[in-house]
Amino acid sequence: MRAMLMRTCLSDVMAPSVARAARTVLERAGLTVAVPRRQTCCGQPGWSSGHPEQARRVARTALAAFAGDDPVVVPSGSCAAMVRHGYPELFAGQPEEEAALAMAARTRELTQFIAEQGLGVGARGSGSATYHDSCHMLRLLGERESGRAALAAVDGVELREMQATDVCCGFGGTFSVNFPEVSGRLGEEKARNAAATGADELVACDLSCLLHIVGRARRTGIGIRARHIAEVLAG
């Protein structure tokens, strides 16, 4: 089976290890993974900031880069939600509408893809982890289970649920810099809840939340470590 990997712009800039880990996980599960070289960003920053025309311009590169019939796998609930939930509206009435709908239909967040395809990841780890429900994964994709299931399948890792795991961490894209004080307050609450579990690390399906939570934690003296779920699955 073949799949195309969407690396995500945030992984490209902030954490290339996340996209590399996602590739490793898929290849270990026996997939042939293509990483289209002409991919850039899904367009979400422009879309959610109220600039649909600019977002469309960027999103067209994704339509072109991920053309074909193979599933598109992305290590981010938020980018997956942009494609699945946002593209139909972004491209409604546009010449690319059909291509956008088709891409939306074959795009999956990494752990959703693993669960749907019943892939064996064979990951090993140790210690304990707490899982943060990222909002777009949970509420736009309606996915509460696949991230937890992937973690549960990692040999030797214990899941410790935190309080209010489904409450937003306060990242919110450009919200994080437009209203940094509100964003920071929410990030701190999330970091405290994560730390209170005593788990060794915080895990989520979205790098954006993690960057914000660990950044706020460090600023306010809360000791937590974090990894993206792809990195945990890649061992």
């Binding site: 954490a15 920053p45 590169t61 937003c168 004080e181």
Partner: protein, 467 residues
């Protein structure tokens, strides 16, 4: 969209970000909001577990979608039936027209004192100010609203207006109003308020209420409340004026019964509201009570411009306030920071839509959201508020938004070319390497400055473990 009278309060002058900072610095407010949010959350979870809430919500969504789709027809029917029952109906195109109708009516009847029960529509049209300017006295009779009126504050929540005040703050306000020394227990404070407000009910010439919804089938006005004050306001004074946003119509009693059931479930996590007042016309010959005159004022105020657009679902709202409590942003700063009668997710959508997209203060509101979607989960009529927020953002026409668009134009130029994208990623990674010390940046220049105003940035990933 054309320029309309502001929906935000006249004293909403500071930028939203400044107002959120002030709210965050208020520890008492944070404690009150936390307590209110937690108690709503617990009640709501209980009621959802005891009822088929998901199905009820689907049905409520279906009802409201249909009502708003058929709004012109339903409004005509409502108007006709209210008239048939002996009421007077006025359609007001905007806030000025609505206020003028009411102050003219008060002048024509020689009224001096107006008693009001809680109403969002009258907050929206700034009716109290208009009444006071015309030389009359107006008293809010919902306990929370009255306390806020005395304290000179705006309501902070659709259903629970005085959420940001605690018991001691309330005691101070009531002592200042009456000049009496008051004990600090809750019962005594409520009893005191009841005594003071009873004088108002008995002597008011006009009672003004809002409308939860009008039932087109019979021309009945529903006013839902928990204190009994709206019953007195709508029954005791000689004249009852009901002010209604034009979308607050349901087709028939089948629909009304369902909405009446889900409204208190969503709003307060309870099976039923304390009082449901059903008013069909003024006092009829042979009836023992009720007002001599009933006036229904139906306010458009920018609503009809939304019909048939992709923002129409904003009109489905039944004003339960659930999206406010569910919103992490609202729970952090409270409703007053929004500077509008409509706060929280629905307020951030409605305020700029009703006011016009060029309002500098109103158009900041849709951006004060992380788009987390918990409002959609909480909404009893399933409004996709996170989607509406994005759509409203796209329509904003302020100078600030135009500057933002110019920045995003550059972004789209660079990131629509794979080569330019790769170059910019390379540059960003070099910049990160320069900014980082042992894997972390504490202060970034330029666009990163707001990030590091609140957080460090890991320049290596996975981040270096904490010391």
């Amino acid at each position: 969209m054309s320029s309309r009278r502001p929906v935000v309060y006249p004293d909403t002058t500071a930028p939203l970000r400044e107002r959120t900072r002030e709210a965050l610095a208020d520890d008492a407010l944070a404690a009150n909001l936390r307590a209110a949010g937690a108690s709503w959350g617990a009640a709501r979870a209980r009621i959802a577990s005891e009822n088929p809430f998901a199905q009820m919500r689907d049905r409520a969504r279906e009802i409201r979608r249909g009502d708003v789709r058929d709004l012109p027809e339903l409004l005509d029917r409502l108007e006709e039936r209210v008239r048939a029952a002996g009421g007077v109906v006025t359609r007001a195109a905007d806030a000025d027209a609505a206020c003028r109708y009411i102050t003219d009516l008060a002048a024509a009847r020689g009224a001096r004192l107006v008693a009001k029960s809680k109403s969002m529509a009258t907050e929206e049209i700034k009716l109290n100010e208009a009444i006071e300017e015309s030389g009359l006295r107006v008293v809010e009779t919902d306990l929370g609203e009255w306390i806020l009126q005395l304290a000179g504050q705006h309501p902070s929540h659709i259903v629970a207006p005085a959420v940001p005040l605690n018991k001691e703050q309330v005691r101070q306000v009531l002592m200042a109003e009456s000049g009496w020394e008051l004990p600090s227990d809750r019962e005594a404070l409520v009893a005191h308020a009841r005594t003071r407000l009873r004088e108002v009910f008995a002597s008011a010439d006009i009672g003004i209420s809002g409308v939860n919804f009008g039932v087109a089938e019979t021309g009945t006005i529903c006013v839902v409340e928990n204190e009994g004050n709206a019953r007195l306001v709508t029954a005791l004074p000689r004249i009852h004026v009901a002010v209604m946003g034009m979308e607050r119509v349901v087709r028939d009693w089948d629909e009304a019964a369902h909405i009446l059931q889900i409204l208190p479930m969503a709003a307060i996590g309870d099976d039923a509201a304390g009082y449901v007042n059903l008013i069909t016309g003024p006092r009829a010959p042979g009836e023992a009570d009720g007002p001599e005159e009933l006036h229904l004022v139906i306010v458009d105020g920018g609503r009809s411009a939304l019909l048939g657009t992709d923002l129409e679902e904003a009109l489905d709202c039944i004003r339960c306030g659930a999206c406010l409590y569910s919103c992490p942003m609202w729970r952090s700063v409270g409703g007053q920071a929004y500077g509008s009668p409509y706060s929280g997710p629905i307020g951030s959508v409605l305020t700029p839509l009703l006011e016009g997209m060029e309002g500098e203060r109103s158009s900041e509101l849709p951006f004060m959201s992380s788009l987390c979607g918990s409002c959609h989960d909480a909404c009893p009529v399933g409004i996709p508020l996170h989607d509406l927020l994005v759509r409203v953002r796209a329509r904003v026409t302020t100078a600030a938004h135009r500057r933002d668009r110019a920045r995003f134009r550059l972004w789209s130029l660079a990131w629509s070319s794979p080569a330019a994208y790769r170059a910019s990623v390379l540059l960003a990674r070099m910049g990160l390497r320069l900014a980082g010390r042992r894997g972390w940046a504490r202060r970034l220049p330029g666009p990163g400055a707001e990030w590091t105003s609140q957080r460090d940035l890991p320049t290596r990933w996975p981040p270096t473990p904490p010391r």
